[in-house]
Amino acid sequence: MIANNDSPRRLRRNLLTAMGGLLLGGCDALSRSEWFPKILRAGEVLSRRVQHAVTPRRSMAQEFTERDLSPTFRSNGTANPDDATYQAFAQAAFSDWQLQVDGLVEQPLGFSLEQLRAMRSRVQITRHDCVEGWSAIGKWKGVPLADVLTLVRPTSMARYVVFHCADPMDHAGTKYYESIDMEDAYHPQTILAYELNDASLPIANGAPLRVRIERQLGYKMAKYIMRVQLVDSYAGIGRGGGGYWEDRGYEWYAGI
């Protein structure tokens, strides 16, 4: 027993504080453990399965009007990639930049910005939902990813589309990357955007090209895309989580 002259009320309060501390410390210990987060992740599996079961494959994200546009579209994550190759492309206004599309495709191709701009385009005013909780509404113009895929002809082995980006995320030079499944890749609103709010995509928002995946959270929508790779598994890329943030504990399925 604790030997002191505290009043019972003080003792009770200390006891409550200690119990609360134990509970919170317990939750922190569980969070840091190897096994408990694996159990918690059952929630992600359930969310993905149930959400796919109740939403049609081609369900469209809400589109808004010009009146709903956010005054400025917030830049989040990298605002200007600290990378010599990227900066050289930016200097030349991305005139010698090329999007490489390869992997499990019959016809690997490179696309210049001019070529992408010459293809069929889609314009959409959509809401961008960040995992942090905020939303912004922007007007995007770009080429449907489905059209690019039609040209390179993915093989029947292809299950995921991986976006390799120019922005280094740490001092070691780890580049941002993301991946989506073929259902989202062929979704009509999945576009490789080169315009935001009727102007060329600013560097802060991912110039020259960023992907829009309107039924998922913002971190899926890779910026500064350099290469699109079709794969049958993303296990061998990065730390194997399917994306930069996924490798750091976030869900691969970001529909919620």
């Binding site: 969310s47 109740v54 995992v131 909780g133 976030y250």
Partner: protein, 289 residues
């Protein structure tokens, strides 16, 4: 289930201890406690998620020409020091120590809610989301089990819907509550009218609203049900409502625990653990019905 039926048995003729009767069905007891755990974790992991963007707006987006309606931040005070500031509509309050700026392991940290009320206690959005969605599913499954049970056992109709005489006694019940007086004897075998209305509001209004405002924040579900997110005023409004309803539930829990404490804490606890509730002998209570 509240049922002073055949199981009610007099304990002894010599002691005036009253009756133990089967007050809560097993399913009700299990769902009650799993809900209690789930709601506590959902609140605390939810506040950790809130801390990633400690600001609430009304409308479709966070970036419109309107200012947020609730925001916490670490601000510079007039004397040059740092304070925790909380703005609600146009009023700013100094909330140093609790909101905006609080101590974490002896250090002052700029954060929305303090570490003692969040899971995890330190900033870790990804982990908070894992906790939140796991226990959100537990809450949903729990709710389905409870409602299925209630439907087949007529729990809601029999125990929760106020009767005509309940409605007539509502004035007296309010007075009883503010005087901290509680029914004894046979009257304690049933929920009183305020209790019934509160439980109905929690089960059929507040908890469903939590789930539905949560769904409105999911971009995938918004694509399936675009009308729903508009109905609640847009995604940022859904986030704000989610926050407000969560604290309304906290208010309910505080009052609920207070009432449990002052109306016979051990008897109440026993009834929610073993199912058995004791009816103390009161005027005219020798007959349990």
């Amino acid at each position: 289930m509240l049922d002073a039926g055949p199981e009610a048995t007099p304990k002894s003729d010599s002691t005036p201890r009253g009756y133990l009767y089967h007050r809560h069905a097993l399913i009700v007891r299990i769902t009650h406690w799993s809900n209690a755990i789930a709601l506590a974790i959902l609140l605390m992991s939810g506040l950790q998620i809130f801390n990633a963007h400690p600001s609430l707006s009304w409308g479709k987006s966070s970036y419109s020409n309107r200012a947020p309606i609730f925001e916490t931040s670490a601000a510079t005070a007039a004397d040059g020091g740092t304070i925790g500031a909380t703005r609600i509509f146009n009023h700013t309050f100094n909330t140093t120590g609790v909101l905006g700026l609080s101590r974490d392991g002896g250090r002052w940290v700029a954060k929305g809610f303090p570490s003692w009320i969040t899971i995890p206690s330190f900033q870790w959005l990804a982990m908070a989301r894992h906790w939140h969605f796991f226990f959100a599913w537990l809450l949903v499954i729990n709710g389905c089990v409870y409602l299925t049970f209630s439907f087949f056992r007529h729990h809601v109709a029999r125990d929760l819907i106020p009767t005509r005489s309940d409605w007539r006694s509502i004035g007296r019940s309010i007075l009883d509550h503010v005087r901290f007086r509680h029914p004894t004897g046979a009257a304690a075998a049933r929920y009183n009218v305020l209790q019934k209305l509160t439980y109905l509001a929690v089960i059929f209004v507040l908890l469903p609203l939590m789930i539905l405002t949560g769904w409105a924040m999911s971009p995938r579900l918004d694509s399936a049900l675009p009308g729903w997110v508009d109905f609640v005023g847009g995604r940022q409004s859904a986030r704000t409502l989610h926050f407000v309803v969560a604290w309304t539930l906290v208010l309910f829990v505080l009052i609920h625990v207070f009432e449990v404490l002052i109306s016979g804490v051990w008897n109440n606890l026993r009834s929610m653990i073993t199912g058995r509730y004791e009816i103390a002998p009161g005027p005219g209570s020798r007959e349990p019905m």
